[in-house]
Symmetry: C2
Subunit: 272 residues, 2 copies
């Protein structure tokens, strides 16, 4: 294996592990966590992409996924949300840009272009490494908020790589909302044509398609629903492009991991 | 209600809430979290007492208890582990004494005796407040590590108040291990007679008894098992005193919340 296990905790008779490795793509160490079910057989790997401010730890600690996967042959892997250990301009100044906010894209702006390449990191480095270490080519992808955006973008651009796609509270149209505009400007510069390849609404509108139904969970008491997430725009794009989609709008639920924990079982079933 | 709900998150159709109130006992604000099942009916309240360094947040975020209680009429309540906002001598110098380390006792040493009264706080203030707010007199008690010690001590000393007792990785004989000796010296001074009333092994040996079987979960890869927890001493004391007890020793499990999450369902069933 090309990664080190730094911590390991027996969980539901399986293993929750924290790992690090030296990334060729980001030119930094990168971290991820995983849960290996007790069978120790891996027929599928689900990738979980986390949201702003998160690390490899949030999901694996808070979502309760282990219980649901314990008796399966499905592993879940949760990468960190950005490179770490750098000191790029403005990298650590705000929660929604730079460290903890990699946005699952390949940056082109000075400084960032050398390291903030989370799209290539996941597709070209993490997945091949996992595929080799655990002898499977079967992947699905999901995530939350910024990570929901990542799951939709990576999934739609790689429909043969990912069997299923789901997302919790995804940023579906980042080019048109404050979080995305700030990040895309910082990582990609002002040319909006570059932005489009990382915008799930634009991808669907321009013909990207996944053969299986995409599942989205969205809380209706989520403070970011209206200003940042814009779920209905993705629904409209999918209807026009005949992309199968199911969105569950959940009354009273917010943007937190309590929401994710409440519905993760349905998503794991969808992704499995 | 005599407390304020500071945050609330819909969870499994119930409510995870964070609360604060002004405590007469500790003369500070005190915090606790709870999960209210979706029925909004409370037939029983389980108290969860957390371990060293924890706050009211750890258990309710990491243990996955909400899923198991969602369809019950049982609420779980998790108080913070000490008073906060004070500046007593040495209070914030180490992880195992002072803030985050109240040990569920009534301190007698100068400074601490005015505030570090977690035993009275739980028994004489929190429980009556919950009883009044949620119209139930039915309580069970559990906890982890220092909080497992708290659950055993409070449960054994109040067998009519708590229907059932359980503990994860409890400090069963604090008078005889480093964590307990440091805390008891700091909070109670050198008189070991004062320590005995907060030592589960001593309580059982001196005739304290609970009418129902006590359930203990202990990981065998827990780094604190041998030096601090001493589970077997409590087993021996219970055998001699004919206190019903079941200890599950779990191969490969450590001291973490991954261990707790793995077995919390069994404990909630026991406590319900």
């Amino acid at each position: 294996m090309n990664f080190n296990i730094t911590k390991s905790h027996k969980t539901f008779d399986g293993e929750t592990a924290f790992c690090s490795h030296s990334s060729q793509v980001t030119k930094t160490d990168m971290k991820f966590s995983y849960f290996m079910p007790k069978s120790n057989k891996v027929e599928r790997i689900i990738l979980w992409l986390s949201g702003l401010t998160c690390t490899e730890e949030n999901f694996i600690t808070k979502a309760g996924a282990q219980k649901h996967l314990a008796n399966s042959n499905t592993m879940i892997v949760c990468p960190d949300t950005s490179p770490r250990g750098l000191s790029l301009p403005n990298e650590h100044d705000s929660y929604d840009f730079g460290s903890g906010a990699g946005f699952y894209l390949n940056a082109t702006t000075p400084g960032y272009c050398d390291h903030y390449r989370m799209y290539d990191y996941v597709i070209d480095e993490l997945i091949p490494m996992l595929s080799s270490a655990f002898s499977t080519t079967s992947f699905s992808i999901t995530g939350h908020s910024m990570g929901g955006h990542g799951a939709l973008v990576l999934g739609l651009r790689n429909p043969n790589l990912f069997t299923s796609i789901s997302a919790f509270s995804p940023i579906v149209n980042p080019s048109k909302v404050p979080w995305g505009q700030k990040a895309f400007t910082g990582y990609l510069g002002p040319d909006e044509n570059l932005w489009n390849q990382y915008d799930a609404c634009h991808l669907v509108e321009s013909g990207h398609k996944h053969p299986n139904k995409i599942l989205i969970e969205q809380g209706l008491s989520d403070e970011f629903f209206e200003p940042q997430l814009k779920t209905k725009r993705f629904e409209e794009a999918c209807i026009q492009s005949k992309q199968e989609l199911k969105v569950n709008y959940r009354d009273g639920y917010d943007h937190s991991y309590y929401f994710i924990a409440s519905f993760i079982e349905d998503h794991l079933n969808h992704l499995n």
